[in-house]
Amino acid sequence: MAEVAAESLVVEGHLADEQQYLTFIMSGEEYGVDILAVQEIRGWEAPTLIPNSPPFIRGVINLRGTIVPIMDLRLRFGLTEADYTATTVVIILKFDSDKGERVLGIVVDAVSDVYTIADTEARKPPELTEDENSDFIKGLVNVSEKMVILLDVEQLLDLHLQVLSEQVITD
């Protein structure tokens, strides 16, 4: 019964607890972010270096007049550094913070797909290590036999700023 009801709702539109995710590939794994947080997808272009920034901050680019920092998510996650190839893309994420809208570009290997995933389908990630990176993993989900790692964009942007401010202190 309940399933039928749920299905009919899906046909009409998205369920309240259902979200669309844009997924991308990094080192063979598939990651997903809330599609509403994605502003646009761009090709890789060499950014301007920021002095004394952590290595995963590649620099800043000009996005139609706005200065947008570019973070290489692969380096941020400690994955082996990948080359910047023709399929390397930058996903521009935006997020409302208390200081207004923040924009950040993340570098990934390639963009993959868009899935509609219900929150109930996502499983909590197992308690892994003390790795700070696991903080911004929202959940794991199976989509046609593949595992997709869902990322929490707010945490991602937040943590990115946190790490930066910590760096300032240790400097």
């Binding site: 920021i50 920034s53 290595p55 620099g59 800043v60 000009n62 706005t66 200065i67 947008v68 924009v103």
Partner: protein, 694 residues
């Protein structure tokens, strides 16, 4: 139709603040021996519009308070009273009080009630003192006895000003009740039909109120038309019986004679009025969460500036379509045309940029206008006679710069009054005029605005400054500082020569803060002083914060921008002219001084020290305290750059003040000289600079 009045609140506040400024400056200029009628009128008008606005938006505390102020002003205006010194003080206090109330309301808070109540009492004391003999219907004393007869003879343009007599009558009826109001209308002045115009009012009315009501309530009804009508209020005790006629008939007759339009309008307007009331309530309720709105500021722009902008955008569109057409079918034969179009585009863009910048420009009189008051109050407090001279008030500068320069200026003026000017006996003893002079002067010089704060006081006492500086270990005991260098010591942190700490100045947090604020605006401050003649503080500021004249340099294939103002010179030197002081620190002799040398590539962690090249390009800049030489790879061009925030999406980066976008669309970072200066310190103390995290 529902009008959200809250959208006008911001405008009301701005206009009220402007009105208060007007009141203040007029009050300060007022000469008691020769009170100019126009001045009083100006003050009255300002107060009146604040009251009116406050009433409209339901800010009752403000309108009530302004009403008392206005009453006294009105009596002065109509010659019932003469202006007195204590009135001016009282008015000035009211201006302050209103300003406080308004900003409280703007912030969505309840205004404080104590101070206005206190001032109101003072006003009432004054008002009650003398008014009675002239006005026989003083509201507090005259009998509310039997009722009132109101003779209302409107000026002809009453209807043109949007006032509707019948609404007032109706309002009056609501106050006194149906049975107690009799209206008589006089149609004597109505011209013959051919010369009758529906927009003019030819009627007169007598309104008879046969009930005990306070006159104030009645007056409130007619408050808005006081200036458009001759109103006479007579107590029914004194007047004999006027003919109690069939008022309704008269009204009927009158309205058809005067204008049919206005009758038709009555209903919708009253509906609107109630709706306004409803939204007012809503606005009050939502006042609390709107706090943030108070921060958003706006500027008034003259229509000329906007028109010229529109013109330019029009030209830009023409150029764009011309170029677009050219691009869609281009052959080499039309190259010249393309170039022409491009140069036209360049010119348009530049003009457009200049005009847009001009919008943000405001005359510095906005910043200067607060000083007459400050000097007056401070003069009384310090018991010094001071004459304030302001020059170049029309000099324009960016609004943001102006806002940020106000506080430092106040500090400088206070300082000049407290420390600069001598006390009156001292001045007489020194053979100077009893009255000290403080001059505020503003003018443009190159791309900068220069603001001078000068006093004709005692000047800086070099010995005292030096002694204090040595005492506080700010300079070594043995030094041979020139007088000019000693003067600059006052800008060091923690420096104050005041013998006694007053609440005006002397806590030692002063000049260094002033200098920091000014440096934050990319400006500089210096002091010139002559013993017994006075001292002058000179502030230099860029005209705008949004645009910067920059020198483009190249370091490791990256482009950086130096603010042109801070560059002293750019020279090519050979590596052999550098002297190594410690492992990581070099200095160079430049004429008669030694300047520390910084390699930008190392400071920014772009590459390890590279000792291969023999010739170095050195940019000498004026840092916080001294000159520094900064080694770059190459000098590129100079250009104006638009400053963009790096912090908006990223964070503050040490050594970088912002970013900009170059002609090719790439981002270039702007160097923050003062933080480069500080970066020297770890290099000096520690040759092992923290490596860039790899």
């Amino acid at each position: 139709m529902s009008v959200d009045l809250s959208q006008f609140h911001q405008i009301f506040f701005e206009e009220s603040f402007e009105g208060l400024d007007v009141m203040e400056s007029e009050l300060l200029e007022m000469d008691l021996d020769d009170v100019n009628e126009e001045t009083v009128n100006t003050i009255f008008r300002a107060a009146h519009s604040i009251k009116g606005g406050a009433g409209t938006f339901g800010f009752m505390p403000i309108s009530e308070f302004t009403h008392v102020v206005e009453t006294l002003l009105d009596e002065i205006r109509s010659g019932q009273r003469t202006m007195q010194a204590n009135f001016i003080d009282l008015f000035l206090q009211s201006v302050d009080c209103l300003r406080g109330m308004l900003s409280d309301m703007q912030g969505g808070n309840e205004p404080e009630a104590e101070r206005p109540a206190q001032l109101r009492k003072e006003f009432e004391v004054i008002l009650n003192m003398a008014a009675a003999p002239i006005e026989d219907e003083d509201p507090s004393t005259a009998g509310d006895g039997q009722g009132w007869l109101i003779k209302m003879s409107p000026h002809r343009d009453l209807l043109l000003t949007g006032n509707e007599p019948f609404r007032m009558f109706r309002e009056l009826r609501d106050i006194v009740g149906d049975d107690c109001l009799e209206v008589t209308s006089y149609c004597d002045d109505i011209p013959d039909f051919s010369s009758l115009t529906p927009e003019e009012c030819f009627l007169k009315w007598d309104l008879k109120v046969t009930k005990t009501v306070p006159l104030e309530d009645i007056k409130a009804v007619f408050e808005w038309v006081e200036d458009e009508c001759d109103l006479e209020y007579l107590s029914l005790d004194n007047t004999s019986d006027t003919e109690p006629s069939d008022a309704d008939n008269h009204i009927e007759e009158a309205s058809s004679a005067a204008s049919t339009e206005s009758v038709a309008e009555v209903e919708p307007t009253s509906v609107e009025a109630t709706e306004i009331k409803a939204t007012e309530v809503k606005a009050e309720k939502s006042a609390k969460p709107v706090k943030k709105q108070a921060e958003s500021s706006s500027i008034r722009v003259s229509i000329d500036k906007v028109d010229s902008l529109i013109n330019m955008v029009g030209e830009l569109v023409i150029t764009q379509s011309m170029l677009g057409e050219l691009g869609s079918n281009f052959d080499l034969g039309r190259l010249a045309k393309l170039q022409e179009g491009l140069s036209q585009l360049e010119q348009n863009t530049r003009e457009l940029q200049e005009s847009v910048m001009k919008i943000r420009m405001m005359p510095i009189s906005f910043a200067f206008s607060r000083f007459p008051r400050l000097v007056r109050d401070l003069g009384n407090q310090l018991d010094k006679k001071v004459n304030l001279v302001t020059l170049g008030e029309q000099t324009e500068l960016d609004k943001t710069v102006m806002e940020k320069i106000s506080d430092p200026l106040v500090h400088l003026v206070r300082n000049s009054m407290d420390h600069g000017l001598e006390t009156t006996p001292d001045r007489i003893a020194a053979g100077k005029k009893e009255e000290g002079t403080i001059t505020l002067n503003a003018y443009h010089q190159g791309g900068n605005i220069v603001i001078e704060v000068a006093d004709d006081g005692a000047g800086l006492n070099e010995e005292k400054i030096l002694r204090k500086a040595v005492e506080k270990k700010l300079v070594p005991e043995k030094n041979n500082l020139s007088p000019e260098e000693i003067h600059q010591l006052v800008f060091l942190p923690g420096f104050s020569t005041a013998d006694a700490v007053s609440d005006i100045s002397g806590r030692g947090v002063g000049m260094d803060v002033v200098r920091k604020n000014i440096q934050a605006l990319n400006g500089t401050i210096e002091v010139r002083s002559q013993r017994h003649k006075g001292s002058t503080f000179i502030i230099r500021l860029p005209l705008t914060l949004a645009i910067l004249d920059g020198q483009l340099v190249q370091v490791c294939n990256e482009t950086y921008i130096f603010p042109l103002v801070s560059i002293v010179e750019s020279i090519q030197i050979s590596r052999s002219s550098l002297n190594r002081v410690t492992a990581g620190q070099y200095v160079m002799q430049l004429r008669d001084e030694y300047i520390p040398i910084v390699c930008l590539d190392q400071v920014f962690g772009l590459r390890e020290a590279d000792d291969s090249s023999e010739n170095l390009m050195l940019v000498v800049v004026e840092g916080d305290t001294e000159k520094i030489g900064i080694v770059v790879d190459d000098l590129l061009g100079q250009q104006q750059v638009v400053i963009k925030s790096l912090e908006q999406n990223y964070k503050k980066v040490s050594g970088i003040s912002g970013a900009t976008i170059l002609g090719d669309g790439t981002v270039a970072l702007i160097i923050d000289i003062s933080s480069i200066d500080k970066k020297l310190v770890p290099v000096k103390n520690n040759s092992h600079r923290p490596e860039r995290a790899a």
